[in-house]
């Protein structure tokens, strides 16, 4: 495909970037119930509608649970749909979230990640992603504002792909990215349309039409249910490589790509590897560069796809390394370690028995700082040399 023209560069927040991404994909129906820190997404999208930039039907709802049900239903009727939420809002729609994926409704939802209920924390953290691990959605985690915008566009391509037909969450760190204003290149509408055009070439999904009797997701048990679960899991598996393909194609057109399922940074000749996700990756990258200058062979893997878990790509990237450090912005209850660490540890048969260190940091707006990441690299490096190490470290608790 031909390259896209240079888009306008504007200084916008992460929330606005999510709204711009959605606007460029022209959803038929969108809705959202306000919640900190993502309310601005809905405000922006409503503003676009008011300005006549989109003809999206904005449905006013009385809560997040209704929001998810509205977009799921509109998706079953064949529409392109978008919504956004955070934390408590996401938890409040938990049943509807599972319904959406069970219905195989290609909903795209932007999530400004925030700590979940238990302790009232209007602050950033990835615990809400973790609580959605087993809902059957595709979960993408992004690093910066540009990636939010680009990932929302890619999410529509992925969700509505005939081979996938699954809802996608685009996660970005609340407070860190939601309110951070940076320069973002906004693609031209016709280029975004061109990127999404292949969706029109594929067979049409069945859809609900008034007056024509058709049902979806009706009660089923035993073999019918098992078959649907099997198909759902198979579609999730296909989504892994599909995301790589979509990301590559996006790169060819727009000149920006993010590695698909994971982004590897200086991992090729690395002896130790750091695994991060979200906005902390930017900090980690600068620390990796500094440590490289000191002669430490450290690499970085950014986990972009959390569900489906990028097992193959991660195993390839981590195989043959001497030690791995994983930084989580959430906790794995009952395991006393980071959830992403827990999952990477499950890849041991593929990557071999090596020291794996879990770091919990950055909960509830605590910053994942340069000294923190330096410490992680130093400890992982020492573990790689056979020195004794501590498996799990709650970094700020030791300061």
């Amino acid at each position: 495909m031909a390259k896209a023209q240079k888009g306008q560069v504007r200084v916008i927040t992460g929330n606005a970037a999510a709204a711009y991404g959605a606007m460029l994909c022209r959803p038929d129906v969108a809705t959202s119930y306000p919640i900190t820190p993502m309310s601005e997404v809905a405000e922006q999208l409503s503003a676009f509608r008011a300005d006549g930039l989109v003809d999206t039907e904005m449905v006013e709802v009385e809560g997040e649970n209704s929001a998810m049900n509205v977009v799921t239903a509109a998706s079953m009727a064949g529409g392109r749909v978008f919504t956004a939420t955070s934390s408590w809002g996401l938890v409040f729609m938990y049943d509807a979230v599972q319904q959406a994926s069970g219905f195989r409704a290609p909903v795209v939802m932007a999530i400004a990640n925030r700590e979940t209920p238990g302790i009232l924390a209007v602050s950033g953290g990835q615990q809400d992603i973790i609580s959605m691990r087993d809902t059957g959605w595709i979960q993408i985690i992004v690093e910066d504002c540009q990636e939010i915008l680009d990932s929302v566009i890619m999410a529509f391509r992925l969700a509505e792909d005939f081979d996938i037909q699954l809802p996608v969450m685009v996660n970005y760190d609340g407070f860190y990215l939601s309110y951070l204003a940076t320069a973002v290149e906004i693609p031209e509408r016709e280029d975004a349309a061109r990127f999404l055009a292949p969706l029109k070439q594929q067979p049409e999904r069945p859809k609900l039409v008034p007056g024509e009797p058709l049902s979806c997701g009706t009660h089923g048990i035993e073999m019918g249910f098992m078959e649907l679960r099997y198909k759902h899991c198979a579609a999730l598996e296909r989504a892994t490589t599909k995301l790589d393909e979509i990301d590559k194609e996006f790169g060819e057109i727009f000149g920006r790509s993010y590695g698909g399922q994971i982004e590897e940074y200086r991992t090729e000749d690395a002896e130790i590897v750091l695994v991060t996700s979200g906005s902390a990756t930017g900090t980690a990258r600068t620390v990796v560069d500094a440590k490289r200058a000191e002669g430490i062979k450290v690499g970085l893997v950014k986990l972009r796809l959390f569900r489906p878990f990028p097992r193959k790509r991660l195993a390839e990237a981590l195989k043959g390394k001497k030690a791995i450090g994983v930084i989580d912005r959430s906790v794995g209850f009952g395991w006393n370690c980071g959830p992403m660490y827990m999952e990477i540890r499950a890849l041991t048969p593929e990557i071999g028995i090596i020291p794996m260190l879990s770091y919990i940091d950055g909960l509830a707006n605590l910053d994942i700082t340069i000294p923190h990441i330096e410490r992680v690299i130093d400890e992982v490096s020492a573990a790689a040399q056979g020195k004794p190490y501590q498996e799990v470290t709650w970094i700020p608790m030791e300061e």
Binding site: R104, P206, L214, C216, H219, G220, M223, G224, E227, K231
Partner: protein
């Protein structure tokens, strides 16, 4: 893994236009007691059909017959029948169940 199961559904999700049975459940197998109707005493008032939760009372013109493929044996029909025409007989007494 070799999949031996023949897919019931052509689509990715449970879509149905009701032209063929979808995920049909043999709820009749849940029954522990079966409604037995005395055709002689039945005056075709229709209350059993009205109350039957899964609409298992088939209208036969001048009496009702139970659809045993789906009747779960809840006994609402027997309870509501003003003439006590329906009796709930334990499934163990039948050889076809």
């Amino acid at each position: 893994m070799v999949i031996k199961h023949k897919f019931i559904l052509k689509t990715e999700n449970a879509w149905s236009d009701a032209s063929e049975p979808l995920l049909c459940m043999d709820t009749g197998s849940w029954r522990t007691a079966r409604p037995v109707l005395d055709k002689e005493k039945c005056n075709y008032c229709g209350l059993c059909a009205l109350y039957c939760p899964p609409q298992c009372m088939k209208d036969m013109g001048d009496y009702y017959e139970v659809d045993l493929a789906y009747c779960k044996g809840c006994g609402v029909c027997a309870k509501e029948c003003p003439r006590d025409v329906i009796s709930m007989v334990p499934e163990g007494e039948f050889t076809d169940g």
